[in-house]
Structures are given as C-alpha cells and as structure tokens.
Amino acid sequence: MALAMGLVPVAGADDHRARINYMIHCQGCHLPEAVGFAGKVPRMNGFAGYFLHSQEGREFLIRVPGVATSSLPDDQLTELMNWLLLTYSAEQLPEPFVPFSVAEVAALRPDLEADPEKTRMRILRQIARGLPSLAVELELISGG
C-alpha cells in the first residue's frame, strides 16, 4: 500500500516486528487498526500523519509519553513509528515523507512532553491553519 501511495518503505525495517510491537505496546489503548476511543484515546488511523506537517508536530509524536517512555529500544521505536504512519495514515503525510531516523528519535525521547493534551491541540490548530482537511477533521472532533 505504501508503494501504491508512491511512498518508499524504510530501508532495513521489519514490518512484521513493527506490527507485533504495535500490538504489544500500543494496541491496549489505541485499539486494533489504531482507531482510538472517541473522547479518550486519540485516533491515529487516518490522522497521525497530520502531525508531520510541522516540525513541532513531528517532534511531538516522539515526545508524547506513550511513545517516549515506551520500553522499546530506539531502533525498534523508530521502525514502529515509521510503520505506523505508513500503514495507518499514509494519506495524511506530507510529500515527501521523511521517515524518522534512529538518531532523531533517540534525541527527542528524553525531552518528555509534560502536558500532552493541551500541546496536542495547540499544534493541531496551528497545522490546520494551512491544511483545510485537518481543519475539517478538528471541527468533526470538537463537534463529536
């Protein structure tokens, strides 16, 4: 699917391991297919890619506690995040999609986001100013 979207899979990545890691480390709250739980757990399916439309949003995806404090080593966490974006939110990614590098993830993880809910909405509103599809999504979210 990633190829059909014109996106290049990340070299050396193990999609199967990423999927298993998603099931072990993320799925408990974000649910199968990353659909989330309205009002409680953010939906990543068809959504997470929006964050990469700003540098702060890109960093937020790694600094958010569920990601930053996961027990995965940097390389597997990087693999998982790239897999997740390409698998569940390829349509929302900016062109070109620059995958996370291990060095980038390793550098961002220690800088834990202290107030994720507020920061998340601030970043998304900022991105939505230049991205009508996200603006529509956010209205849907606040309306529902």
Partner: protein
C-alpha cells in the same frame, strides 16, 4: 374437657409471660477511634462490581455475630483512605445513572466513622481509575487537607480535592506515570513506565507548583518494580518481581532512591513476592511480603504460601510465617501486639499473631464474597 381447656390457657399465658419483646429501632454508633484490632475488609464484589462494600470487623472476636461492626457501600471498585486526624473515611466511587449503564458520575464520598453513614461528597471529573483496588489510588497529603485521586482514561492524571472545604481544586496531568504516593508537605510521586518517579509539588490552591523527575532507576523489562510498596516512616519499600527492594524516601518533596537490597539472598526454591496486596508494615518498622516458591515469568500475582518479615532498616529477614492457606492480600495492625490478617484463597480472612506467626482464627461468613483488600483500622 373444661379442665383440659383451663390447663391449656394457663400454659399459654405462661409462655407469653416468658417472652420479653426485643427493643427495636436502636441505632448504635461506633467509637471515633477504632480499637487497634478492628479491620476494614474491602469486598470489591469482583463479579458484580457496582456494589462493593467496606466491611468493619473485630479481628479479635471469635463470636461470629459480634465481630461484624457494620459496612459502607463502595460503588464500582471504590478506593478508600482513612483519615487519622478526623473521624472520616474518604471513598472515591463511580455511579451510573441507570445503575449498570447511563451517565457516569464520580464522587469522593465522605463517611463518618461513628455512624458509617455518608456525610458529604465532592463531585470529581469522571475519570478515576477503577483498577483492582490498591493503597495508592487515593491518598491524603498536606496534613490530611488534600485528597489525591488517580485518574486513567487511559491518559493519566491526579484529581486534587480539599477534603476540609469539601471542594474539587485541580487536575494534575502525570503523563506516562501512575498512582499517587504521598510525600512530605504538599507533594506526591507517581511511578512511570520508564522506571523513573515523577514528583509534583502543589501550591496551596491545589494547582501544580512544580514538578521533577528522577532518573530511571529500575529495569522495567528485566526486574520490574511493583507498585505495591510497604510504607514505614515515610519510606516506601517497593519490591521487584525478583524479590529486590528499592527503598524510596518520600519524606521531602524530592524522592530519594536508596540502594536496592535482596529479600531472597541465597535462599533456594525460587522464592518471589506475589499477590494482590502483597506488602504491609507494622508500627515497629517490620515489613511483610507475601511470598511464593518456584516463581516464574507471570507468577507475580500468584497467592503467597508464606509471609516473610524484614527489618527495613537493617535490610535483613526477621521471620518467616507459614500460612495455613495461601493468601492473595495481607495487612498488619498498627499496635504493639500486631495481628497479621490475610485474605486466603477461599476468600476468608485468616488472622495470625504477627510476632509468633501462630494462626489464631479464620473470619468467614460475614457476608463477604471477594474481600480483595484489607486495612488495619485506626
């Protein structure tokens, strides 16, 4: 025939004369301070969680009816804490408008220890965590002025309630961290998923004044630290899956993590701590842990067959108590002749002399189903 009738009448009136009508409508009260050997059994009603109970019992009593002192309701796995400076018990509860469904309301209910009746409540954000009951879902800080309630939606936060003014003050985010361990002054710590502790210091308005984070100090993969600490003198003794103890001094507003020590030493048999409420302490500083042999990956909630008693300061074992039945939860009374109480696998409460280890009695038949958590009353 007439004679017989007369005899019958005389007999009947003799029977009535012997009946002394029992006085009814008497409502008794309990003392403000409860005797040291009274206990509270939290029957969380595991198979129908909307109607749990906190049952007050006299663990010294061999009289089946006399040992039952009363109970309070505790809805949807309530979490409770006893005040020491006021005759009050605080209980975080959840209600649904149609019982098992409908709009959710969370409240902190304030119970009077003398009447076991609710005397007030504070409405909370409907977010509190309804996990299996622990000692650290609800705690008091700031000389018992503030109650802290752990939330999980699964975003994690702590609700702050002024229990003197009986008002909700604030919600503090604790991203990636869990539960609430009371600290000196107006502060608390939470255990984080990366093996560190997050500490939040509150202002007098209950809002976050500052926060800090320790370095990760335990290994969440190789030897995870349990959240069930034995507390003494402001020091939380956290056991790990493999039976090491991390002493964490919570007396200040920054936790001080001490060097870990082993409960197991060179003891053979694969002993490990395990159970639901597996750690307790007495007033002399002895620490009690539920232990099972042949421990393995996944056995950290197995019932314990022994309780190992340690001197926390000397970091050495004082005694081993063989349980008459395996147990899932323990508590110890806070007096000079402490009782060890244990919820056994038949969901009864075994009472032991904590010093000698002798089994004294079994408390059953008090209307209990799943008394998952025990506390010594005070």
């Amino acid at each position: 025939m007439k004679k017989l009738m007369l005899v019958a009448l005389i007999c009947a009136s003799a029977v009535f004369a012997e009946i002394q009508p029992e006085p009814t409508g008497i409502i008794e009260t309990l003392p403000e301070t409860w005797p040291a050997h009274w206990i509270i059994a939290h029957d969380a009603a595991f198979f129908h969680m909307s109607d749990g109970k906190l049952i007050v019992l006299d663990a010294d009593s061999d009289d089946v009816t006399g040992r039952f002192k009363g109970f309070m309701n505790a809805s949807f796995i309530g979490m409770f804490v006893q005040a020491r400076t006021r005759p009050e018990i605080y209980l975080a509860e959840t209600f649904r408008s149609r019982g098992s469904r409908g709009e959710r309301t969370d409240v902190l209910t304030i119970y009077d220890k003398r009447t076991l009746g609710p005397v007030g409540e504070v409405v909370l954000p409907p977010k509190r965590s309804s996990n299996m009951p622990t000692d650290y879902n609800l705690q008091l800080v700031d000389d018992e002025k503030l109650a802290l309630i752990y939330n999980f939606t699964p975003a994690q936060s702590v609700s702050v309630v002024d229990v003197v003014a009986r008002e909700f003050l604030a919600e503090i985010p604790i991203p990636g961290c869990a539960l609430t361990y009371p600290m000196g002054g107006r502060a608390f710590s939470s255990v984080c998923g990366d093996g560190s502790l997050l500490t939040v210091v509150l202002g007098d308005d209950g809002q976050q004044a500052s926060s800090s984070r320790t370095e990760p100090f335990f290994d969440v993969d190789d030897d995870p630290m349990m959240e069930k600490a034995a507390m003494h003198g402001g020091i939380a003794y956290f056991p790990t899956f493999h039976g090491n103890i991390y002493p964490v001094d919570l007396n200040g507003t920054v936790p001080v993590v001490g060097e870990p020590w082993s409960m197991i030493g060179d003891e053979e048999g694969g002993w490990r701590p395990g159970g639901l409420q597996l750690a307790a302490s007495d007033s002399s500083g002895h620490l009690y842990f539920l232990m099972h042999a042949q421990g393995r990956e996944g056995s950290h909630k197995d019932p314990g067959v022994e309780v190992w008693v340690f001197d926390g300061e000397a970091e050495s074992r004082v005694s081993r108590i063989e349980l008459s039945l395996p147990a899932i939860s323990i508590a110890v009374t806070r007096d000079d002749n402490p009782l060890l109480i244990a919820t056994n696998i038949n969901m009864e409460i075994d009472v032991y002399d904590a010093t000698s280890g002798n089994h004294l009695r079994t408390l059953g038949d008090f209307g209990q189903e799943t008394p998952l958590i025990l506390r010594a009353a005070h």
